[in-house]
């Protein structure tokens, strides 16, 4: 630590070069911070640790609905603590471009999602209103809805009395505190009972069940027991953990992980070359100085550490600035878009991976120049040979 001043001085010996290299490192890690956060948010898909939820949907296809009668059977399975059902509605608000998820949910659905925070009074009002709906805070802000407003939705699948016009009264606005899951606020829930009575096509059918597994009960065993309820029927189910369900769904859009890895691979390869070149140049220019250091008593090993710390410092400095900019930028974009785009903030795990990458890159690019500095022969170096 006592050499920090020395390392710092060496780093800014050539200001232009260090500054430009630093900026390249900043952009590389800015990109990394943003892309990796998107990847994490996309792949985590709201799996809450400790929630222990299963999603039970049709095995045949996600558009196939399940009978309502499964509800009591599922609740009777040992290890099931709570369960609720929901059905996709797919309504459109004013214009298809305003897409947000909207579905009807059975009683107790919100009990399964303690992370959705709805004031108790609003919840009571909603439960006593047959045509009531609740929405997430982001969605309400985006469309300027207030409690008591009437929200008209155009049905795309389920007409009511021959018409596509449905309307709901807004009874509550819930919020999610976890930044990572803010995107899930873009949703509207209404009562399944109303959906079942009012739509013209399906009766007594639900889209999927959400099951909370009791602590201590294995979710695999419970999933198997649920699937065996409908084995060999025309409505076979597939129960899987919420995380597995979301991941499979996200993966069908695109393998974001692969794309991010590909892009970052190209970026970091270039970065290695660039900073490696800078460090090699920096050491080449300073050969006489390093020789002087050795002459006044610095050991070979200290010279190695000096050069190595310099390159690590360079990369870490740039990397931390880049990721800090990313974490400032992302909520800014989300805010500026008025809830249209929900970008996640840079999360702890991205920071961890980023810091590990910075250290690794710093060591890799510093190693060769550092070894060169260590092996310097004082006499030759001072003589400029």
């Amino acid at each position: 630590m006592k050499y920090l001043h020395l390392i710092w001085a060496a780093l800014f010996r050539s200001k232009t070069r260090t500054f430009l290299t630093l900026l390249s490192v900043v952009t590389a890690f800015l990109l990394f911070g943003m892309l990796d956060s998107v990847r994490v948010a996309f792949n985590s898909g709201g799996s809450v640790t400790g929630a222990n939820r299963l999603v039970v949907a049709s095995r045949l296809s996600i558009t196939q609905m399940l009978p309502y009668s499964l509800d009591t059977q599922i609740k009777a399975i040992p290890g099931v603590q709570k369960s609720a059902y929901a059905a996709w509605f797919g309504g459109i608000y004013q214009d298809p471009k305003n897409f947000f998820a909207n579905f009807s949910v059975g009683p107790g659905y919100l009990d399964l999602y303690p992370e959705f925070k709805l004031p108790a009074a609003q919840r009571k009002a909603w439960e006593s209103n047959r045509t009531g709906a609740i929405v997430g805070e982001s969605l309400a802000k985006r469309h300027g809805w207030k409690i008591g407003d009437t929200i008209p939705l155009q049905a795309t699948i389920f007409p009511t009395q021959g018409s596509n016009n449905w309307s709901f009264r807004l009874d509550g606005i819930f919020r999610i505190d976890d930044e990572k899951m803010k995107a899930q606020e873009n949703v509207l829930f209404f009562h399944w009972k109303y959906f079942d009575e009012a739509n013209d096509y399906v009766k007594g059918r639900v889209g999927w069940y959400i099951v909370k597994v009791a602590d201590g009960a294995g979710s695999d065993g419970v999933a198997k027991a649920i699937d065996s309820l409908s084995a060999n029927s025309d409505h076979e189910t597939k129960a899987q953990t919420e995380a597995a369900f979301n991941q499979a769904f996200a993966k069908q859009f695109a393998d974001i992980g692969l794309i991010v890895t590909g892009i970052m691979g190209a970026v970091f390869f270039t970065l290695l070359l660039l900073t490696g070149n800078t460090m090699a140049q920096a050491v080449r220019e300073r050969i006489p100085e390093l020789a002087v250091l050795k002459t006044i008593g610095f050991s070979n090993r200290s010279v190695l550490w000096l050069v190595l710390s310099e390159s690590v410092l360079l990369v870490v400095l740039g990397g931390v600035i880049g990721m800090a900019i990313a974490s400032l930028l992302m909520p800014g974009v989300s805010k500026a878009s008025g809830g249209m785009i929900q970008l996640p903030t840079v999360l702890g795990q991205t920071w961890a991976v980023g810091l590990a990458l910075m250290l690794a890159i710093g060591v890799i690019v510093g190693l060769l120049p550092a070894l060169r500095g260590m092996r310097l022969n004082i006499v030759d170096a001072l003589a400029g040979r």
């Binding site: 430009l20 390249s24 990109l31 196939q64 797919g90 298809p96 795309t156 007409p159 060999n232």
Partner: protein
């Protein structure tokens, strides 16, 4: 202060230059290049610039390590940019090729996609009697009532479940989609539990080889053939609609595809539909229907690709600046000597710029070439509008490659200009005296 103002002015000019460069069509670029070459060959300062550039290029092999930063950095930007945009292009091309202006799809009013639509059996004879629908040689209207189910198949890539469109079609479906050709085996027999599969689906999902049996809706189906159409139907499985419907307990159809009668067939059909109060249906040409499905995703990929490309380009500019500043500093004496023996500012500036641009061009060519080699025709799939997989191929078009090269030269321009100016401003005496 004066120097600062000059630099500010140059930066502004540079931004204007970049904007103009981005908008320049290819033939004007050719004109610019031709003018530049003429200037190099015909005028005195041009010839001097060329001589100066030759000296710089001759010493390039000595600085290969540092110069490769420019080449690799720009290759990375161009490669990623071209690959991302090629993905959007490929998706758009697949959906744009699907459908034609000579056939139309009829859906329930308000439905955005087939999945959401319902057309009851009693509506089909009403539809087939409407005006604007072409008739076959036997006088029957050419229509195909269809039902498409989303089924789960296992993907070859990672063994996870994927949603695939399983389409039941009427006997006229083959006439309606002339692009679709059976390439292996045969068509399914009406009334049998047989199906034909698209080539794209066959490549992406497990168990679709001809002759294999497949369990769908708890019944065994035999794959009797494979077809290829080069559009989004390639990702589908086809069977007889009258077999598929009962298997999934569906009494109604979802869509009716019809062949249009002549050029004004569509307008006549639309008018006829609007005039029949029993039919609350929407009609659009199949071309419009599929083209609309690609809009959102293509736009998203385009924006994403350009944002990522821009950030990477900024990083690459810093890399290029760094390298060229170092090159100019390393050759300070040489450049000072040249200036002392009579090379003026312009040839020196042009020489350094030319060197950077050539390196950038090399990087651009490598990046674009790699993107083309690796990704052209690379097939992937994503979730389309019907909640099912659309298989498509990356399409690295010449236009994209050209765009990539333009980006490369733009980065070279920015990265070369400031070092070139420094070279031209180098105080001759000091540089000559320096060690």
């Amino acid at each position: 202060m004066k120097k600062f103002m000059i630099n500010l002015g140059i930066a502004l000019l540079l931004i204007l230059g970049l904007v103009a460069w981005a908008m320049l069509p290819w033939y004007l670029v050719l004109v610019v290049v031709a003018l530049f070459v003429l200037w190099l060959l015909l005028t005195r300062s041009g010839r001097l610039a060329w001589e100066a550039a030759k000296i710089g290029l001759a010493s390039l092999p000595q600085r290969w390590g540092a110069s490769s930063v420019i080449v690799v950095g720009i290759a990375g930007v161009v490669g990623v940019l071209v690959a991302m945009l090629a993905m959007g292009e490929g998706f758009k091309a697949t959906l744009n090729q699907t459908g034609s202006d000579s056939s139309a799809i009829i859906l329930r009013a308000g439905s955005q996609a087939e999945t959401n639509s319902v057309i009851t059996r009693d509506q089909v004879p009403l539809i087939s009697s409407l005006a604007g629908i072409a008739r076959g040689a036997d006088g029957q209207p050419v229509i195909s009532p269809e039902l498409s189910q989303v089924v789960n198949l296992v993907s070859k890539a990672d063994g996870t479940d994927a949603n695939v469109q399983f389409r039941g079609v009427g006997p006229m479906a083959w006439t309606l989609r002339p692009k679709l050709k059976i390439v292996e085996g045969r068509k399914f027999n009406p009334g049998m539990r047989e199906l034909v599969v698209g080539r794209g689906a066959q490549k992406q999902f497990v168990g679709l080889e001809v002759g294999k049996q497949l369990k769908l809706a708890n019944q065994m189906w035999t794959v009797v053939g494979a077809f290829s159409s080069g559009d989004s139907h390639d990702s589908e499985l086809w069977a007889d609609v009258d077999v598929l419907g009962p298997a999934y307990q569906r009494q109604a159809f979802q869509s009716v595809t019809v062949k249009l009668d002549g050029k004004d067939g569509f307008n006549r059909l639309k008018a006829a539909l609007a005039g029949d109060p029993r039919l609350k249906l929407d009609v659009q040409t199949t071309h419009d229907y599929y083209a609309k499905q690609s809009e959102g995703l293509t736009k998203l990929i385009n924006i994403l690709g350009k944002v990522i490309g821009t950030i990477m380009a900024i990083g690459a500019v810093f890399g290029a600046l760094n390298t060229m500043f170092a090159a100019v500093a390393g050759r300070a004496r040489e450049i000072a000597t040249m200036r002392a023996i009579g090379f003026r500012g312009v040839p020196v500036v042009v020489a350094v710029m030319l060197e950077t641009m050539l390196l950038a061009l090399l990087g651009g060519l490598i990046g674009a070439g790699l993107a083309w080699l690796v990704f052209n025709g690379y097939s992937v799939s994503t979730l389309g509008q019907n909640f099912s997989q659309v298989v498509f191929q990356f399409k690295v078009s010449p236009e994209l490659l050209w765009n990539g090269l333009k980006w490369a030269l733009g980065i070279g321009l920015v990265g070369g200009l400031f070092p070139a100016l420094r070279a031209a401003r180098l105080p001759v005496t000091e540089a000559l005296r320096a060690a």
